[in-house]
């Protein structure tokens, strides 16, 4: 299997259980559930001693999880799969997904310098023309946050949907908070990253929101509570308590009445450290797209943290889907034969179900059933990913992309 080696032979002794649990987060709006659980004293309430630590970039989060420096983290849903399939190789303790933290709320932002006035919201055709126009002057450059991570895939999807071969443009990883400054400097023409960095760019007039990810795939899994396998095994009970706390925080966050307060808190210096109004607006689903595109309102599909359990249930299917995208976009030479096996290893569904039961959260039974990704016309059947691969090629040609 593609399962990383180390974990087993790693030399560290099992951590004493009284040791505080370190959860990492990256300054992004969707760290809200992990952070608010702390701010609302929910961890304490459930009898675990948790500290939340700000992290500066995804690869460091990966390595801190692998080294046990962090027990868990607010993390890209894709990262554990990227690690397991060596798209982004990890040395040490393999990663596990305990639960999904959020849906939606990411966006592809385009630079006003390059695309201002040329492209409307979700106007893929115009986007493609503009990119081809831009090619004449320079190599169009787009940024994501982590190879194999969600933003990486959303960006690729956006390009593919526009019939642009992702290989025909430059795609590079940049730490999320760096995006705005780099776009401002004309260092890149577009990026896909989580809020608030889309909103900030729009507010500064540096860029505009071309498409929010919920328009690519409604209710896509975004961030997950990722933990090291050792932690999951050795401190299972503590992990369960943590999840219970996060469940509660997620419910609290999905009560739109609480979001203004949440925005205020996570906007603080020790968390996302960004203008609270921007965070709040996009949390509430009121997108000022910027670039003269006016506003767009998302009602049922803004950033969500619970959806009555729909959000938090980690689905094998989604894991398989991600690995399929790796194959689709050349992050992997081919779809791993044991993709499903990997998904079943990485995602701790049994654990989730236990905790959901305790929390009285209903567990959907839609896993491993076909589901729709809007940007890719047609459903994705986790039982038959290779079929999807062929369809993708067709779609791409259809969209006018030279395959």
């Amino acid at each position: 299997s593609a399962e990383p080696k180390a974990g087993a032979k790693s030399t560290a002794a099992p951590p004493p259980t009284d040791q505080p649990i370190k959860l990492g987060f990256i300054p992004l709006t969707d760290c809200a559930s992990v952070v608010m659980a702390h701010e609302l004293g929910l961890y304490k309430k459930h009898g675990v001693n948790v500290v939340v630590e700000k992290q500066t970039s995804w690869p460091v989060v990966r390595d801190k999880l692998a080294s046990g420096e962090l027990h868990g983290a607010h993390c890209l849903f894709g990262m554990p799969f990227a690690a397991a399939t060596k798209v982004s190789e990890l040395r040490g303790d393999p990663l596990r997904i305990a639960m999904v933290l959020s849906n939606n709320g990411q966006a592809t932002t385009l630079s006003t310098k390059t695309f201002g006035g040329k492209v409307g919201y979700g106007d893929y055709a115009a986007f493609r023309t503009a990119v081809d126009a831009a090619r004449k002057t320079k190599e169009p450059t787009f940024a994501m946050t982590f190879p194999g991570g969600t933003h990486d895939i959303w960006l690729h999807l956006t390009l593919a949907a526009a019939g642009i071969d992702p290989k025909s443009v430059k795609i590079k990883p940049i730490p999320p908070p760096q995006m705005v400054a780099n776009m401002e400097a004309g260092n890149m023409d577009g990026y896909n990253v989580g809020e608030p960095w889309g909103g900030v760019a729009a507010k500064k007039g540096v860029g505009f929101t071309f498409v929010a990810t919920q328009s690519i795939w409604k209710h896509h899994p975004e961030k997950a509570l990722v933990v090291g396998s050792r932690f999951a095994e050795q401190r299972r009970d503590d992990l369960k308590k943590v999840m219970l706390a996060i469940f509660e925080a997620s419910k609290w966050l999905d009560d739109m009445g609480n979001r203004a307060q949440a925005a205020k808190v996570i906007g603080g210096q020790q968390y996302v450290y960004a203008p609270a109004d921007v965070i709040d607006a996009r949390l509430a689903g009121n997108y000022d797209l910027g670039g003269g595109l006016g506003t767009k309102t998302f009602t049922d599909d803004t950033m969500l943290f619970h959806r009555g359990g729909e959000t938090n249930f980690p689905r094998y299917a989604h894991g398989i889907w991600f690995m399929t995208q790796y194959a689709r976009f050349g992050r992997l030479p081919a779809l791993p034969a044991d993709a499903e096996q990997i998904a079943r290893t990485v995602i701790l569904q049994d654990l989730y179900k236990e905790v959901a039961k305790e929390a009285g959260v209903t567990v959907p039974d839609d896993d491993m059933k076909p589901f729709l990704v809007q940007a890719d016309k047609g459903e994705f059947d986790p039982m038959n990913p290779s079929a999807a691969l062929t369809r993708y090629a067709a779609n791409f040609r259809e969209a006018g992309g030279a395959a």
Partner: protein, 294 residues
């Protein structure tokens, strides 16, 4: 002073003039310290003024978005006000600086502990030099940003990040001390060695009374530069590790677009760096016999 900032310099060859110089130095030292202090601070003020006006000019001309001196100053004041308090969970800038200093102190001490003996070894034995020199040369230009992740993997088993941060500081501040110690040891005039032989100096006495005292100024110069390096990489190290510290503070402020705060951090880093440098300078001058070396 600039002239104290570089490595030992060759001296004119007249012993008498050297002797004479040391006399006039003594006279300078004799001059009332207070008066000198005043003059010095006046100059510092002047240069501050110069810097600020240039800065203001830049703001007014090329880059209007650049934070103005005044705005930055306000922020600095405010930050200093809360330097040692915790505002909603984040420690004040004072704490941040202290955290970084502690980190640097450890990493720096480690590097000194390794670099000085290694340097002596390299300086004494040509074989060691030939063996280690290329390694030193290749590793020297490697960026802290590269060392950190490698350290993360290497030290996973032990302490993880904190030790990787230390290692990054350690390795980047290793080279100057090592190289200068080696140079210092190597530059020991052969006659001193003969003196030691003639008077039957024991190994220990030779080391304590000849080799080390001779190399001390070089070693101190090395340590000063190492300290500079350590302080230079603190931002990189803390930016990756996310450890609390002035480096992370700068990085974090930048991420939040708080350029004034960032400049405050720059000021803090520069100020402390300057202080450290001056400190080592004082030490260096104190131990420098070279005005003497005849």
């Amino acid at each position: 002073m600039i002239d104290e900032m570089a490595f030992p310099m060759p001296r004119p060859l007249q012993p008498r003039s050297a002797w004479r110089r040391s006399i006039s130095d003594a006279m300078d030292r004799a001059a009332p310290a207070a008066l000198q202090a005043v003059r010095a601070s006046l100059w510092n003020l002047a240069s501050l003024a110069l810097a600020l006006s240039v800065w203001q000019l830049v703001c007014l001309t090329v880059s209007p978005d650049f934070p103005t001196p005044l705005a930055s100053f306000r922020v600095c004041v405010q930050l200093l006000g809360t330097a040692f308090t915790k505002i909603d969970g984040t420690p004040g800038i004072g704490f941040q600086v202290l955290a970084s200093l502690r980190r640097i102190a450890i990493g720096f001490a480690l590097s000194a502990a390794v670099a000085i003996p290694a340097g002596v070894l390299i300086g004494v034995s040509p074989t060691c030099r030939k063996l280690l020199d290329p390694i030193v040369q290749v590793l020297r230009p490697v960026s802290p940003l590269v060392w950190f992740p490698l350290a993360l993997v290497a030290f996973k088993s032990m302490g993880g990040v904190s030790s990787s941060t230390l290692f990054t500081i350690f390795i980047t501040s290793l080279w100057p001390t090592l190289i200068n110690t080696a140079v210092g040891v190597k530059s020991l005039p052969g006659d001193y060695r003969i003196v030691a032989q003639v008077f039957r100096f024991s190994r220990g006495r030779y080391l304590r009374k000849i080799l080390l005292p001779h190399s001390l100024p070089y070693i101190l110069t090395g340590l000063r530069l190492s300290m500079g390096n350590a302080w230079l990489v603190i931002v990189a190290a803390e930016m990756l590790s996310g450890d609390v510290g002035i480096g992370f503070f700068a990085w974090d402020s930048y991420n939040a677009g708080g350029y004034e705060r960032m400049i405050a951090a720059v000021a803090a880093i520069g100020g402390v760096g300057l202080a450290l440098d001056r400190g080592f300078n004082a030490l260096h001058r104190h131990f420098d016999y070279r005005g003497a070396d005849q």
